[in-house]
Structure formats: structure tokens, C-alpha cells
């Protein structure tokens, strides 16, 4: 099924993890690469200062022997601070697996991951949990709010779990930004889908994490609400410099990103800078997605 050889179609220069294929570069694409500060392959084995998250040569196999499935086939990348990165790709392309590994929810079969300069390889479950607590925020497709807590309690939940006192001014600021100041004591069941996702965004931002991961944040919303959520996410990058990685199917969502990575069959097949939805769709078409 996976007989299609992507490298034949895609320009090798796009493949950050394929140094051998770097010869014969397409000029335009090379410029683009520099613009989005993709590091040269030879420095990839050193963790990046200034990179929120970096990964070297990630592979991830599920199962064993004949039935083993390779979800990631050798991916290296670095997510610089202060950027919104979108990860696109069809189902089974490995984009979710990549996100899970970068977020410290899953461990790679081979390769290394650094989150905020810490290698997660040797961390035990508790240390890894604490690392996530400190450095990572999550936004999920299905919001995943606690039904028995109010909007505000849901927002400050990560701080509560960490046993930290929330900074009042910051929580006020956040509640204002997500537009739920007057609904702070409503429970999720009393909020619309868009409002629930805004609570979730507040929850992701409240601990000022090194990086926020969003998994199809608009996947469960109508297009108008999606727009509002995307504006909110873009705003958090612009206003607070919040590094964000967003996994999405949605070309419109990808269009708010500073950088768009395309995955197929466990490899990054395209890495492009800011593009509009139209350009994204073109690339998707080009890649047969």
C-alpha cells in the first residue's frame, strides 16, 4: 500500500531529514528553508538553544515482526521559539505520532527529542509528567474539559495540579483574551463548543508553557467558530510569543501558521513558510493528499 515513493516526486531539499539528498537543490525552496530557519543537517545532533522542541532522526514502530507498522520513518526537526508551526498530512501520515512524541506523550523507537533543552529519553514517567506540566500546553479536538469544574477552574487546572498559585493578573488577562470573563463560573455543559475550546486554550496558556500543542483544534467546530479559535491562537503567538505546534487537516487552519510541515508515510515531505489557504491546498493536491 505504501509503495508510492514520495522522494521521487517531492524535491529532496524539502526533506530536512535526508541530508544525502541535498545535492541538486531547487533555489526557491532553499531560500524558503532559510527563511523558516531550518537548521543545517550537520548540527542536528546538538540540541538547539532557542529551539522550544527539537527532534533528531525519529522513528516510531508499532508492533513487532511482520506486522510492525512504521509510523515515523526518520524525522528530524526543530521548532524555534515564538512561531506557530502547522503539521499537515493525511490520516496515517504520522503527524499525530510526531506530535505525541514531541509533546512527551510517547517515546520514539529510535532518535532523540529535546523539550526545552531536556532530553526526554532517560526520563521516568513522573519526571516526564513534570516536564509536560512545566513546559507543554495542550489543546484537544474534543476540548476535554472537566465537567464538574467551572470555566475558570478549568483554565487554572494545570497550575492547581502543579500546586502553584495562579497569578491573578495573568488569569484575568487570559479570561479576557478568551472572552469568558462573564462566564467564568459556568460549567462546560453551559458553554457552546467554541466557548469550551476557548477555555481549553486558556488552560493551555495559563502556565506560560514553552510550547503549546494543538491536535485538530477546529476539528469539532463549525467554520465560523473555527475562525474565532484560529484568531485566538494566532493572537497568542503574536501577543505572548507563545510557541505553538498545531496538527490539522484544515488548509484554513494551516494558513495562520508561520511554517507548514507536510508529512506522508512517516516522513516530512514538504516544509514551507507562511502560505495562504489556496497555496496550502495546492501543495496538498500536489502531494496527492
Amino acid at each position: 500500500m505504501k509503495s508510492r515513493v514520495i522522494q521521487d516526486e517531492a524535491d529532496p531539499a524539502d526533506l530536512v531529514e535526508a541530508p544525502a539528498a541535498n545535492a541538486g537543490v531547487n533555489q526557491a525552496k532553499e531560500l524558503l528553508m532559510e527563511a523558516v530557519a531550518v537548521p543545517a543537517p550537520d548540527v542536528l545532533d546538538v540540541p538547539h538553544r532557542g529551539a522550544a522542541v527539537s527532534a533528531e532522526d525519529l522513528t516510531r514502530r508499532y508492533g513487532e515482526g511482520e506486522t510492525a507498522v512504521e509510523a515515523l520513518g526518520g524525522v528530524s526537526l526543530s521548532v524555534p521559539q515564538g512561531q506557530l508551526t502547522a503539521v499537515m498530512g493525511p490520516s496515517g501520515s504520522g503527524k499525530s505520532t510526531l506530535m505525541h512524541i514531541l509533546a512527551g506523550l510517547d517515546k520514539p523507537t529510535t532518535g532523540t527529542v529535546h523539550i526545552a533543552g531536556t532530553s526526554i529519553q532517560e526520563l521516568n514517567d513522573t519526571d516526564l509528567t513534570k516536564l509536560r506540566r512545566e513546559h507543554i500546553g495542550f489543546i484537544f479536538q474534543f476540548f476535554n474539559l472537566l465537567p464538574m469544574l467551572t470555566a475558570e477552574e478549568n483554565v487554572v487546572l494545570p497550575l492547581s495540579i502543579a500546586g502553584e498559585k495562579p497569578d491573578k493578573a495573568w488569569v484575568e488577562e487570559l479570561m479576557g483574551r478568551i472572552g469568558l470573563k462573564d462566564r467564568r463560573s459556568h460549567r462546560p455543559s453551559e458553554l457552546s463548543g467554541g466557548q469550551q475550546q476557548r477555555v481549553a486554550i486558556g488552560r493551555a496558556l495559563v502556565s506560560r508553557p514553552t510550547i503549546v500543542f494543538a491536535d485538530e483544534p477546529t476539528g469539532n467546530l463549525d467554520s465560523k467558530t473555527s475562525g474565532e479559535i484560529l484568531d485566538l491562537m494566532r493572537g497568542s503567538v503574536d501577543t505572548y510569543g507563545q510557541t505553538t505546534v498545531m496538527v490539522t487537516h484544515d488548509a484554513r487552519a494551516a494558513a495562520i501558521a508561520d511554517r507548514i510541515l507536510f508529512l506522508a508515510d512517516g516522513l516530512i515531505v514538504r516544509d514551507m513558510g507562511r502560505s495562504d489557504a489556496h497555496e496550502v491546498l495546492e501543495v496538498m493536491e500536489e502531494l496527492g493528499q
Binding site: 505525541h100 509533546a103 506523550l105 510517547d106 514517567d125 513522573t126 509528567t129 513534570k130 509536560r132 506540566r133 512545566e134 507543554i136 500546553g137 495542550f138 484537544f140 474534543f142 476535554n144 472537566l146 465537567p147 464538574m148 469544574l149 487546572l157 494545570p158 492547581s160 495540579i161 502543579a162 500546586g163 488552560r203
Partner: protein, 855 residues
């Protein structure tokens, strides 16, 4: 549909097992009770059967009436001339007379060997004569001959390391005597008689030892061939004195077996009651677990409906699941009953009671009752959840987060639950305070009242969950941080689920609290009574505190220097005004050792009793319209009628008095009762309680190892210890219900964890550590358990107040044992932690990615 149901059960193995466990334990208690009591009965029956194996007719002493519950009941012996007379009958092939009495064997330290609730049997053998009637057989040595020899039972020989040729001391009413062991024997027919001991003497020695010179307790007779037992008894009957009777061996055996059955039957009913309480709690657990699983399987039912399954098919599918669970659980419980029987045996043996344990009896009745009861209870408990499942609309298959539609009935919910609660309370009040009810009606009203009260509280509990959780969960939020706060929220988010989980626990705790409060009331009023009545410095009681003991101790104690008064209180049975009652007898000096509150007659009553005077309690006098001088006819067990007159009426303290229904002088008692014995002896000593006096009194009882001297304070403490022992036994039996309800807590938590999988995944992702997850589940479990404890303790206190109100005349005061209740609360917390272990582990080990994907 059937296949779907069965496959579903298999697919949800853990849930099925957890659900079934609640029934397994209840059924096991029932089957265990039957197995235990059947085994005890069988062991006794074996002994009885064996005893009359070769006899056709049995002559035994005749009692005017029978009072099985009395500790002082004795059957009088009859003249041995009966044997000679019987032997002269032409139809008699052989006959032999025996003595059976009580003799306590002493261990090598001179202490009475404990029979742990069994008997200290004494028997006679006549090896020179016809030995065919002897139910005992020798395993070593030979039968005793002459007044220096004895044979003892094999168990005692083994446990106490006594062999043939050793010397053993034996305590009888005559004091302690040493005997040479010539033989070791067992009952030929029985494998075990518990911890009972047997002392075997030859006939003249036994007659001498038990003050039965020229008498027998029993004569067994064998007929010549061709003579029926019935004919034989007809021939024997005219020869007998009024104090003896004859029965065919078969009838005599039946009578003895009936006695055993009656005794064991009461015990069996009590244990069965605890089994049914356990099943009742189990029914709660099952109903709750099924309700939760059905809510979680709405999709599945809706899908069944969309593809054409009818409501009836959904109902049948759920009931079929319940049937399979019920049958499986009952089967497992049935066999688990073997372990429970062993456990009960161990429980009783830890509390000092040892049962005979022959071959385990596993009767058909045990199998049928266990299977039926277990299955029916399961089916009844699943009826409501099953009906709920039929209300799932097909649309739920495609809609996220659909909830069950409420039925017309459930809108009436609050009214129905309040009416149920009120009905329970009304029935209880009727049962307790209603006048002129028969015992059966009263018990039924109380039993159903309590059950309905429990159901009523459970139905109303969901409205109490939020406030209770808010208060009881407060410590969790302080100790457990965010995990504790979330735990409290989780306990409140589905009030009806938390309520029914806690309600199962409530039942056990309510009963335990009730028992504890009544026990404390009994202890308090008893202690008060002792304080009020006791002016004596010391008391003499039997080693175990309640058996009657020989009156010879009175003389021994009287001879001790410094002793100023010895009041031996005799005890015996009598029939008065058509009722079997316990009577007592006191010496003239009773006023010196007991402070009696006289209403009529004054402090001189005991001294003025003479040979025909008695005194009674004021209530008895009132009930029978007695006044000073009223005649009272007292029938003794030997059918003698004593015409007495009332000489005094006293007002006993609430905790009771040491006196029986009627009290006469010890002189009158000793003259008319075959074997006068003391229930207790009260002693005054110059100088009061001090070490020298204690030592002197103890020394005076040296040759009565079964009697011990205690100070007034010790006496009180010993009696309280007996109450505590009973309480511990009840706690142990009710503990099973609590364990079952804990399985309910485990069930609910496991199902909740399953339901909240995605939520747990999110929490783990955003930084909740595994230990925080475990803490969260643990605190939820504790909060749920504490809600159960709060409800249970409240209901228990309520029941206890009702009961003590009703029993205030009987002398039980309301005394709430706060320390004990505090211990129950601590135990509840520990139990909650234990119940959380498995669910917490499952929750903390969730794979975050799987959990987040989970839908």
C-alpha cells in the same frame, strides 16, 4: 440475541466478576451456614445414634418440665432397683444401668481443661457385665475398675499429653480427686465431639462421685428376639417409679436428636440471618453496578434497537446476563461456602467456642437453597436496571452524550422515596411500640421495617450526597491538594451513583453501629446495677464466669479467716403459674452482701424466708397480682410442688439483679433440689479488698479448680468482657456485609475510571502524575465510604434510640460509645483506601495516548 448477551458478558470479564462477587459472598455465607450446622448436627447425631445402637428400650429420669435454655437444667437420677426389676421380665435379654454426669478434667497445672463451649462429660462403664450397650470403645489400655481409676477421651489424652498410667485430677461437686488413667477411649460412632472432654469411671465410682449412690441415670434394655420394642416398653412401664420413664430406643434417639436440632437450629437461623443481610447488601451492589454498566452501554442497546431489536429483546438480553451472573455466582458461592464454614469455625474458635467437626456434610438442601436464593436475588436486583435499558431510544446510537429518558415513574421519585422511608419508620415504630403483638408479627414488622428503612434511606440518599460530600470531602481537599479537590467533585458529579454505592456500605455500618450502641447500653446498665447492688468485697464465680458451680465452695470460703459473710446464690429451674422460669435461693445473710431496694417486706426479708418464703421483683408481682402473703406454687424438675408464700417485693436496678423470677431460702432449695449449685457467691471480708485477703480466699478454693475468686471490680469487668465477646462475634458476622459493600465501591470506581478514560488521559497529559491520579481515586473512594459511614451511623443511632426506648423497662439505657464509633470511622477510611487500590492502579496505568483516543 442470546449469543449477543453471552458474548457481551465475556467481553466485560472484569466487570462481570466484580458484579458476581457481591452475590458469591452472600451465597457463600448461606451455604457455609448450612454446611457448618449440618456438620455439627451430624456429629452430635452420630454420638446419639451410637449410644442406643444395641438397645430396644431406654429408661431415663423424668423431669416435670423441660427448660432447654437453662444452664442449671438437670435430669434427676432414679433408684437402681429399676435395673433388677427390669432384668426379671421374661422378654428382656439384657439390661445395664449407667451414670452420666459432669466432671471436669484438670491439666497438669491444675487448671480445668477448657471445653470451649462443649461439655465436660462423665460416663460409667461396667466391663464385667454386659458391655453391648457401651457406646465408647477403647483405643488404648483397659476400662477403669475401682475408685482410683479413670479412662479419658482420646483428644484430651493427645492435647494434654496424658497417657495410660498417668495420674489425672478430676473436679466434681465433691472437690478434686486424683485418678490413675487406665484407658483412652472414644465414641465408637463419632469422629469428633469438639473440645468436649469425657471422664469414664466404673459404675460404683461414678455413683459415689456424683452423689448417686443406689441410683442410675439411664438403663438400656435389649429384648429377646421376637419381642418388639413397643411391647418391651409396655412391659417395663408398670415397674417404674414416678421419677423414671421408658421409651423405645428409637424414640429416645429421636428425642435426643430433636434436642440437638433445636439447639443448632437457633444458631443456624441467626447465622442465616447474617447471610441474608449479606445478600441484601449484595443486591444493592448488583443493582448499582448494572445501572452504571447499562448507562455506559446505551450505544449498544440503541444499536440493537436500530437494527430491529424490540424492547422485550433488550429486556431479555439484560435479564439473561443477570441470570448467567446469578447462576455462576451462586455456584461459586455454594462451594466457597466450604471455606466460609471453615472461617466461621475459626471465628468461633478464636472466640473460645469449638464445634465438633466430623465429616463435612454437603446436603441437597444446601445446594438447592443456595442456588435458588442467589439466582433470585440477582434477578430481582437487575430488574430495575433492565427496565431502564429498554427505555434507551434508538436515536442514542447516533447521538453523542444522550441520556436515558426519565419515565413517568421517576418523576414521582422524590415522593416515592419519602413514602418508602416513612413506611419503613412506621413499620419499625409499630413493631417496637405496638401493643399486644405476637412475637412473629413483631419480628416481621421489625425485619421488614428495617429493610424498607434501608431502601428508603438509599432512595433519599442522592439528595444528601452533595452536602455530605462537601463536608466529608473537605479534609481530602486539604490533604490531597488538587487531586483531593477533584476527588470530591467526582464523588458529587453523579449523586445517585455515589448514593447507591454508599448505601450498600450504610447497611453494614448501620447494623454494626446499632449493635455497638446496644452493647454499650447493656454494659453501662449492667455496670450500674453491679455498682448499686454489690456491697460485697469479693465474688466467687465459675472459671468461665457463668457456669453454675458446686455449693461446697461456700463452706471452704466460710472457713477462711477474716470472712464475715458468705452469700451463695443458688440457681435452678422451676415451673410457676404455668411458665418455666429460673429461680434462685439465698441464705439469710443476703442483706449483708447485696443492697436490695425493698418495696415490701423490708431489709429483713432474706433472714425471714424460712422454708416456705419467697421474694419477687415488682414487675412480676404486678403481672401476677401478688401481695405479701400470696401463695405461690413452685414445681421442681422432679415434679415436687412447693407451696410458698410471698414475703417480699423488691425493685431491681435497670441492669437487672442476680435473682431469678422467684427467690427462696437456700435451706428450702437444698432440701428440694437434687443437685444444688451456686450461680455466684458474694463474700464480705474484714479489711475489704487487699492482697492478703485475695490470696487467702484463692487458697481456700484450691480444691475447687472450677471456681475462682474475683474482686467486685473484676467481677464487673469479667461480665463486661462477655458482652464484648458477643459484640465481637456480631462485628465479625456483619463484617461480611461490609466487605461486600466494599466490592461495590471497587465496582463503581472501576466503572467510573472506565467512563472517565479520556478525562484521565487529559489530566495525565497536562501534568498530573501517576501518584496524583492514584490519590484522586483514593480520595474519591474515601469520600464515598465516609458518606456510607455517615448515613450508616445515623441510621444505626436512630435504630438504637428506638430500641432503647422500647427496652428501657428491660434495663437497657442509651449509651453512645463515641470511641467505638470513631474507630468505625477510621476503619471506614482504611476500607475506602483498600477499595481504591485496584481502580487507582488501573487509572494510573492508563496509556495516555489510548485514553485520549478513547471514545
Amino acid at each position: 440475541m442470546t449469543r449477543v448477551a453471552l458474548k457481551g458478558l465475556w467481553g466485560r470479564k472484569l466487570r462481570t466478576v466484580l458484579t458476581a462477587l457481591a452475590i458469591v459472598l452472600g451465597v457463600a455465607m448461606i451455604s457455609g451456614t448450612y454446611i457448618l450446622t449440618d456438620t455439627i448436627t451430624a456429629s452430635f447425631t452420630q454420638v446419639v445414634d451410637g449410644s442406643y445402637e444395641n438397645a430396644d428400650a431406654v429408661v431415663s429420669g423424668k423431669v416435670a418440665f423441660k427448660n432447654n435454655e437453662s444452664a442449671t437444667a438437670t435430669t434427676p437420677a432414679f433408684p437402681d432397683s429399676v435395673l433388677a426389676d427390669v432384668k426379671q421380665l421374661p422378654d428382656v435379654a439384657a439390661a445395664a444401668g449407667t451414670i452420666s454426669d459432669e466432671a471436669k478434667l484438670l491439666d497438669r497445672d491444675g487448671k480445668v481443661i477448657s471445653t470451649k463451649g462443649g461439655s465436660s462429660l462423665a460416663a460409667s462403664v461396667d466391663p464385667a457385665n454386659d458391655a453391648r450397650f457401651n457406646p465408647l470403645k477403647l483405643t488404648a489400655g483397659k476400662w477403669p475398675v475401682g475408685n482410683g481409676q479413670i479412662a479419658i477421651d482420646q483428644r484430651t489424652s493427645e492435647k494434654q499429653d496424658y497417657g495410660v498410667g498417668d495420674t489425672i485430677s478430676v473436679a466434681t461437686d465433691q472437690g478434686v480427686r486424683d485418678f490413675e488413667i487406665t484407658g483412652i477411649a472414644t465414641f465408637a460412632s463419632a469422629s469428633s465431639i469438639g473440645a468436649s472432654t469425657i471422664a469414664i469411671f466404673d459404675v460404683p465410682t461414678a455413683q459415689d462421685l456424683f452423689n448417686k449412690e443406689g441410683k442410675f441415670d439411664e438403663v438400656q434394655v435389649a429384648a429377646k428376639s421376637g419381642v418388639t420394642p413397643a411391647k418391651l416398653t409396655t412391659e417395663i412401664r408398670p415397674l417404674l417409679p414416678p421419677t423414671a420413664k421408658v421409651k423405645t430406643a428409637e424414640a429416645q434417639t429421636q428425642e435426643a436428636v430433636d434436642d440437638v436440632n433445636e439447639g443448632v437450629g437457633i444458631f443456624q437461623k441467626i447465622l442465616l440471618a447474617f447471610g441474608f443481610i449479606a445478600l441484601f447488601v449484595g443486591a444493592f451492589v448488583i443493582a448499582n453496578t448494572l445501572s452504571i454498566t447499562i448507562a455506559q452501554r446505551m450505544r449498544e442497546f440503541a444499536t440493537l434497537r436500530t437494527i430491529g431489536g424490540s424492547r422485550r429483546q433488550v429486556l431479555r438480553s439484560v435479564m439473561l446476563e443477570a441470570l448467567v451472573i446469578g447462576i455462576m455466582a451462586s455456584l461459586i458461592g455454594l462451594f466457597f461456602g466450604l471455606a466460609i464454614a471453615k472461617g466461621l469455625n475459626a471465628l468461633f474458635s478464636a472466640l473460645g467456642v469449638e464445634f465438633p467437626s466430623g465429616g463435612t456434610v454437603f446436603s441437597t438442601r444446601t445446594i438447592v437453597v443456595s442456588l435458588l436464593v442467589g439466582t433470585i436475588v440477582t434477578l430481582l436486583a437487575s430488574l430495575r436496571p433492565a427496565i431502564k435499558a429498554t427505555r434507551v431510544p434508538p436515536i442514542a446510537a447516533v447521538r453523542e452524550g444522550a441520556t436515558l429518558p426519565t419515565s413517568g415513574l421517576s418523576r414521582l421519585g422524590p415522593i416515592v422515596s419519602i413514602v418508602t422511608l416513612a413506611l419503613g419508620i412506621l413499620l419499625l415504630v409499630y413493631g417496637i411500640f405496638g401493643g399486644g403483638l405476637s412475637t412473629a408479627t413483631r419480628l416481621l414488622a421489625l425485619g421488614f421495617g428495617t429493610l424498607i428503612l434501608f431502601v428508603g434511606v438509599a432512595m433519599n440518599a442522592k439528595r444528601a450526597v452533595r452536602p455530605l460530600a462537601a463536608v466529608l470531602g473537605w479534609p481530602a481537599t486539604k490533604i490531597g491538594g488538587t487531586a483531593g479537590t477533584l476527588a470530591r467533585e467526582n464523588a458529587m458529579r453523579n449523586p445517585s451513583r455515589t448514593a447507591s454505592t454508599a448505601s450498600a456500605l450504610m447497611i453494614g455500618l448501620a447494623l454494626i453501629t446499632f449493635v455497638a450502641i446496644l452493647g454499650a447500653g447493656l454494659r453501662t446498665s449492667f455496670g450500674d446495677a453491679v455498682d448499686k447492688l454489690f456491697v460485697a468485697d469479693y465474688a466467687v464465680t465459675a472459671e468461665n464466669g457463668f457456669d453454675p458451680f458446686t455449693k461446697e465452695t461456700d463452706d471452704a470460703v466460710s472457713g477462711t479467716p477474716a470472712v464475715t459473710a458468705v452469700t451463695g446464690i443458688r440457681g435452678g429451674d422451676a415451673r410457676i403459674f404455668g411458665h418455666n422460669v429460673q429461680i434462685t435461693a439465698v441464705p439469710p445473710n443476703a442483706a449483708q452482701t447485696i443492697r436490695i431496694d425493698w418495696l415490701r417486706g423490708g431489709v429483713g426479708v432474706p433472714a425471714r424466708l424460712g422454708t416456705d418464703g419467697v421474694f419477687v421483683e415488682k414487675d412480676y408481682a404486678k403481672d401476677h397480682h401478688l401481695r405479701i402473703g400470696s401463695p405461690i406454687a413452685v414445681t421442681t424438675p422432679t415434679a415436687k410442688v412447693l407451696h410458698m408464700r410471698l414475703k417480699g417485693i423488691f425493685d431491681p436496678p435497670k441492669g437487672g439483679s442476680p435473682f431469678g423470677t422467684v427467690t427462696m431460702s437456700d435451706a428450702a432449695f437444698d432440701a428440694n433440689y437434687a443437685k444444688p449449685r451456686n450461680l455466684m457467691t458474694l463474700i464480705n471480708v474484714k479489711g475489704g479488698v487487699n492482697e492478703a485477703n485475695t490470696a487467702r480466699l484463692a487458697l481456700s478454693l484450691h480444691s475447687f479448680p472450677d471456681a475462682k475468686v474475683v474482686t467486685a471490680a473484676q467481677f464487673k469487668k469479667n461480665q463486661e468482657a462477655d458482652i464484648n465477646l458477643t459484640l465481637n462475634l456480631l462485628y465479625g458476622l456483619l463484617g461480611l456485609s461490609v466487605i461486600i459493600s466494599l466490592f461495590g465501591v471497587v465496582n463503581t470506581l472501576v466503572l467510573s475510571v472506565f467512563e472517565r478514560t479520556r478525562e484521565l488521559g487529559m489530566l495525565r497529559a497536562i501534568g498530573m502524575t501517576r501518584s496524583q491520579v492514584r490519590r484522586m481515586i483514593r480520595h474519591e473512594s474515601i469520600v464515598t465510604a465516609l458518606i456510607g459511614a455517615a448515613l450508616g451511623i445515623a441510621v444505626g443511632v436512630f435504630l438504637a434510640i428506638l430500641t432503647t426506648q422500647a427496652l428501657s423497662d428491660e434495663g437497657i439505657v442509651l449509651a453512645i460509645p463515641w470511641t467505638t464509633i470513631f474507630i468505625f470511622v477510621v476503619a471506614t477510611i482504611v476500607a475506602g483506601m483498600l477499595a481504591a487500590i485496584l481502580p487507582a492502579r488501573r487509572a494510573s496505568r492508563l496509556n495516555i495516548l489510548e485514553a485520549l483516543k478513547y471514545e
